[in-house]
Amino acid sequence: MSQQMEAAAVQRSDWFDIADIDQIVPGTGAAARLGKAQVAIFNTRDGIFAVQNHDPFSGANVLSRGIVGDIGGRLVVASPVYKQHFCLRSGECLEDGSVRLQTFAVTVRDSRVWIAAGE
């Protein structure tokens, strides 16, 4: 997400204060609630990312517990259940192009993690 879009989104004031960034161990993910939705938030060397926590293949809410890394240069999380890889930036599933996760805008302000809805 570009700086501009981020700024625009913040102005729409639909951002939610989730937690202290310290609560997500670097290199791992954690789950959060966003209204009735569950979001998986990842604290990586390349920044912070958020996708839906729901794993479309197993039906369980577990993506936050997957291993993060990169495959062919794309940042991904691997489902802990059946190991499909999802792009952290686009939500796209590398193994099955027809599946895409919902992604969320996310930012860190004063060491607090904030999340917004939408692409």
Partner: protein, 839 residues
Amino acid sequence: MQTKQLVVIGNGMVGQRFLEELVAMDQDFQITVFCEEPCPAYDRVQLSSWFSGATDEDLALTDLAFFERHGVRLIIGEAAATIDRAERKVSGNKGTVVDYDVLVLASGSYPFVPPIPGHDREACFVYRTLEDLRQIKAAAEGCRRGVVIGGGLLGLEAAKALKDLGLTTDVIEFAPQLMAVQLDARGGQLLREKIEALGVNVHTSKATQRIEAGDKARHRLVFADGELETDMVVFSAGIRPQDKLARDCGLTIGDRGGVVIDDHCMTSDPAIFAIGEVALWQSRIFGLVAPGYDMARKLAGHLCDQGEPFSGADMSTKLKLLGVEVGSIGDAHGNTEGSRVCVVEDSIKGFYKKLVINQDATRLLGAVLVGDTSDYDMLLQYALNGLDLPESPVSLILPSDNKPVLGVDALPAQAQICSCNNVSKGALCQAIESGCMTIGALKTETRASATCGGCATLVKQVLDAELKRRGVEVNDHICEHFAYSRQGLYHLVRVNKIRSFDELLESHGTGRGCDICKPAVASILASCWNDYVLDPKHVGLQDTNDNFLANLQKDGSYSVVPRIPGGEITPEKLLVLGQVAQKYDLYTKITGGQRVDLFGARVEQLPLIWRDLVDAGFESGHAYGKALRTVKSCVGSTWCRYGVQDSVSMAIYVEERYRGLRSPHKLKMAVSGCTRECAEAQSKDVGVIATEKGWNLYVCGNGGMRPRHAELFASDLDDETLIRYIDRFLMFYIRTADRLQRTSIWRDNLEGGLEYLQDVIINDSLGIAAELEAQMQGVIDTYVCEWKRTIEDPVALQRFRPFLNDDNPDEQIVYVRERGQKRPARAEEKDKVELVEVV
């Protein structure tokens, strides 16, 4: 035209190969096979491996489906009894009568039993069929001493079997030396010394005159110059062609037996052919399988009008007898006129090598190798292909680092690489060309190395050389982030004392890592340094289950498996398990590993459950880790009327010793209290079976997707040696295996096989035994229960909250009840809770 009736008598190694060759051709025979043995063809060459754990199925060369698929009628368990050549009929000994147009005798040979008085007493056996082995094994239980009559190749194999069965073993040879056919006197002498050093007693120039009842043992063997008492006798005094049927119907038979055949395997009756060990070609019987296979191929071709003649065969052999390497090539005795010899003998290192060379020292005619056969493959190629010998032929057998190398590149395309299956270098190259890039693929395609396995090294060399020539790089990189194999990474971590993934990535990798390399490195780090796996610098590397120290279930909940060492549990602890399960409403099941699994725990419940379990004295069972799982035990000598050792105590000791040990894949062990094997130790990575004298150690078995029987690794060990071997074995596996490679697959890929492994672990051939033991001790000394540590670690505990911003559990984990316990609701049972757009 009417289909011709083809009848085969005998479904041994050669008969079976003949069928395979024939059905692969364009032919139209109606085939019937008389198979005297109770099962279709099996691998007689590997027969002895039955004693070290190979099963009937492992040895099978075919199955009933083969016969069905090709419309071949197989008459199992019925021997052909008569041949009526006038009527062209074969009658079986159970009444079956079959007409033939073409008859193939593939009845092999039978062991010769010298007609000495008493040869038919009880517990006197021969060594030829699976049935023979079964009888020997059964009889061995009540025996202490066994004698093999006959010191040839098969006799020594039988001696090894008796020794492995725990008998004091003697070999009686009529001739003045062992293996008189293949070795010269000096070679035979060295072989004898080596075998005696292994504890087998050898008696040469001894003729047994009679066998009678003994005083201290069942039998007494009486010689001209003495006697010997024994409980069991195995005759291995040579083989005789099984030619009775042919004799009875008047076919031409050689003076010393064998059905006479011509170059097309045809007997004196043009409708009858003979192949394999029953056939006599130019007054020779070939007692090896390779010439028989060659006859089978040539005959199949001949019957389909593509006849190439049979032109004799090479009788060279390379063997390991009782652990002693022996090789014999061509004219080993130097019978060729004018031949000369070069001999190298080293009585300190214990080897003897002899070359037999033609008069002008340009060609190799034969060789004898005892104690070291590393030059065999090369020498055989010189002999078979008539290659020019180097200036100084003896340099070929001198122990030296700059010995003239005969690279596979130097071999002509027609050079025979696999003699059992007559595969040339050219044929291998062709198969590689058509896409066989692995040993396995080559083996399936060409059969090279599929019989005695003696040519495996050479086949691999041809493959490697070809791949290299084609510029194919054999890549064993673990993933795109590290240009190393798992073994390479292990080495880097160990040698450079690397303590974290980031450190390793920075120094030796690229990118960010992935779900392949991260857990693999986590496992290596744990095997080397045994740091806490949920430490912030390791937690992001852990695979699904290690990540929360529990097994993830399909609905996102977890299961909990506390360790129950050896499967022994007090009633008090059993009650605690029940109480904890009740308190958290966990589905409870007894596992296949002698413990209890509690299912349906939500992530935030895990620390609470474990606090209760740890308080009651339970520890993590590592059901989630690529680590030691369970050590299964049977009840053993404490209660069982048959037990000879305390298997429960040993199982508990072993489980507590190796608990928490992270490895390339999971590890399972078992300890049985006697040979009845109720703990199924032979299906484990490490299996221990009690004997009267100690413990037998088995390794590299598993159940699961591709079951493999464990192999006997060492016998009658005391407690201390047993543990020392297991320490070394496990650490060597951890050091060298690939990612997610269980001990079975690792072992199958280990060059040199079981013997190599024994050499490394028992004889310390790599000089690393002390290091392996020290590394194991390091892991043992640093063990702490991961769950005990976790429930006391506030930082680690934070990760068990269901949500960063909410402590209410995931409402989408829904259960229904069945048979009095909960189970995950199926999709249709769940209230459909859709992922809702935010706000």
